[in-house]
């Protein structure tokens, strides 16, 4: 039983049967991608929070809204987060005002719709990749389990062919198969944790955006 003596991680993976190796490859790729998304979400949500922080600071210091709008729309980059909601709402408000002869309620309604649309786009960006993390978290343990079951089936089938059944004949096969479950769990656990954390982070951002929308609507109504 030379196999039992040399049970390094790589020989275990190399010694596994083809379906198990496929499962392992899929799981490793999934794990890489899910970790990639995890870090992307970590950075983007953090950035959205700091952006919202700085924009709220600028907004509530009580400066001129026109100046703020010009500052935002003059930059070449597309505004993000709260700034894009503000831009969409204020642009719509100005247009309605320039046309004149409009009811105040209609103007407010238009600005509100524009802000709602911008808000939905922002939220969609924030929500990106979360479904992927959710499915990795729930599915990859099963995929790993499938690889393990397949590998153990092979190990026991090999056992049936030998006259004297010893544990050392099955042990390498089972160890190989269990590597699949290990990889599956390694992909799933961070994905589930990240999903829960990010979805709560996105919810908090959504509440923040919505409350900003309500407050901004009030300010526009007072102006008109």
């Amino acid at each position: 039983m030379n196999v039992a003596n040399d049970m390094s991680l790589f020989t275990l993976i190399a010694g596994a049967s083809v379906p198990v190796q496929l499962v392992m490859a899929v799981l490793i790729i999934t794990s890489l991608i899910s970790w990639w998304y995890i870090f992307i979400k970590l950075f983007t949500i953090k950035r959205a929070e700091t952006n919202a922080e700085s924009f709220e600071n600028a907004f509530w210091t009580g400066g001129d809204l026109n100046k703020l709008y010009e500052g935002i729309s003059s930059t070449r980059r597309k505004p993000q987060g709260m700034a894009s909601i503000f831009e969409a709402g204020f642009k719509e408000y100005i247009r309605h005002k320039q046309q004149g002869r409009m009811e105040v309620s209609d103007v407010m309604e238009g600005a509100r719709r524009a802000m709602r649309a911008a808000y939905n786009r922002e939220l969609d960006d924030l929500d990106a990749h979360l479904p992927f993390l959710a499915s990795v978290g729930s599915v990859s343990p099963y995929v790993g389990l499938f690889g393990t079951v397949w590998g153990i089936m092979n190990a026991f089938r090999g056992l049936a062919n030998s006259a004297q059944a010893t544990l050392s004949q099955v042990a390498p096969g089972i160890a190989e198969a269990l590597v699949a479950t290990a990889i599956g769990l390694f992909a799933a656990i961070p994905a589930v944790i990240a999903y829960n954390r990010f979805s709560s982070g996105v919810d908090r951002m959504a509440v923040r955006y919505e409350s900003f929308m309500e407050e901004f609507t009030n300010i526009l109504q007072r102006k008109s």
């Binding site: 003596n5 490793i28 998304y37």
Partner: protein, 270 residues
């Protein structure tokens, strides 16, 4: 795959992701010892090394050697006195003794090989040349030999080694005799436990090889070297061997080495 607004962080995130996996793989390689130790064979070796030191208590001390030597000595001492006084009377006695000797020598010739006979002849010549004192000495020797022979006949089967041992020289002869004696004891003890009804009417002969531990227990199971032809008989003898544990062993550890691997011959119907 990724949104436009995520482009600036995508590369950084990818690097982090690869880093996490690299750390995990390194941690697995470092923290696991991927080589399985095999302690079983080592344990066996230790058992063998430790056991021989421990026993010493098991068998009673082998008295026979000293007893034999002590017994004949007191006999000759009183005898020498009558020797010098009646010279005439002594000669016939010597003759008778010579005859006795010859008879025994002949018996031995039948049993033993030529060397023994030559030795005896030499001894006879010595006897003839020298006088009564030496005859007396011979007497002692003969008595010793006769005693030894008697004991061996009682204890041992007609083992090929037994006669050789009697003619061999002092210490090695003594140890060989001791070994044979214990072999005979072992064989006798096993023989008592054999169920003879299983071995038919003839005289089946079978050979077993056993490995003895220093405690007198049989290690593993006896190995059948030559079957008697009756598997029931073979089994009966094997059962007898296992039933006879612990087998008698000499106290002397040097002698015990001879008993580690024993080849035993059995005639269950004798």
């Amino acid at each position: 795959m990724i949104r436009q607004h995520e482009n600036p962080v995508a590369f950084k995130a990818g690097m982090f992701s690869l880093g996490v996996h690299a750390i995990l793989i390194i941690a697995m390689l470092v923290s696991f010892s991927w080589h399985t130790p095999q302690p079983i064979s080592i344990a066996e070796v230790e058992l063998w090394e430790n056991l021989p030191v421990a026993p010493t208590v098991v068998p009673p001390k082998p008295l026979p050697e000293p007893v034999k030597k002590v017994e004949p000595k007191p006999l000759p001492e009183p005898e020498p006195k009558p020797e010098p006084e009646p010279e005439v009377k002594e000669e016939p006695k010597a003759d008778i003794e010579l005859e006795k000797k010859r008879k025994e020598a002949e018996k031995r010739k039948e049993e033993e090989k030529k060397k023994v006979a030559e030795l005896e002849k030499l001894k006879k010549q010595m006897l003839l040349e020298e006088k009564l004192e030496k005859q007396e000495a011979l007497k002692e020797k003969q008595r010793q030999e006769a005693l030894r022979k008697l004991q061996q006949d009682m204890l041992a089967d007609d083992d090929a080694k037994a006669p050789k041992a009697s003619t061999a020289k002092s210490s090695s002869a003594a140890s060989a005799g001791e070994v044979d004696k214990y072999k005979a004891m072992i064989q006798a003890k096993i023989q008592r436990n054999v169920n003879q009804s299983l071995c038919g009417d003839g005289d089946p002969e079978l050979h077993y090889e056993i490995t003895l531990m220093p405690t007198g227990d049989v290690q593993g199971s006896p190995k059948l070297i030559k079957s008697s032809g009756l598997s029931a008989c073979d089994d009966a003898v094997e059962r007898a061997i296992l039933q006879s544990q612990p087998l008698p062993l000499p106290a002397d550890p040097n002698l015990r080495a001879e008993f580690r691997n024993l080849k035993l011959k059995f005639h269950p119907n004798e």
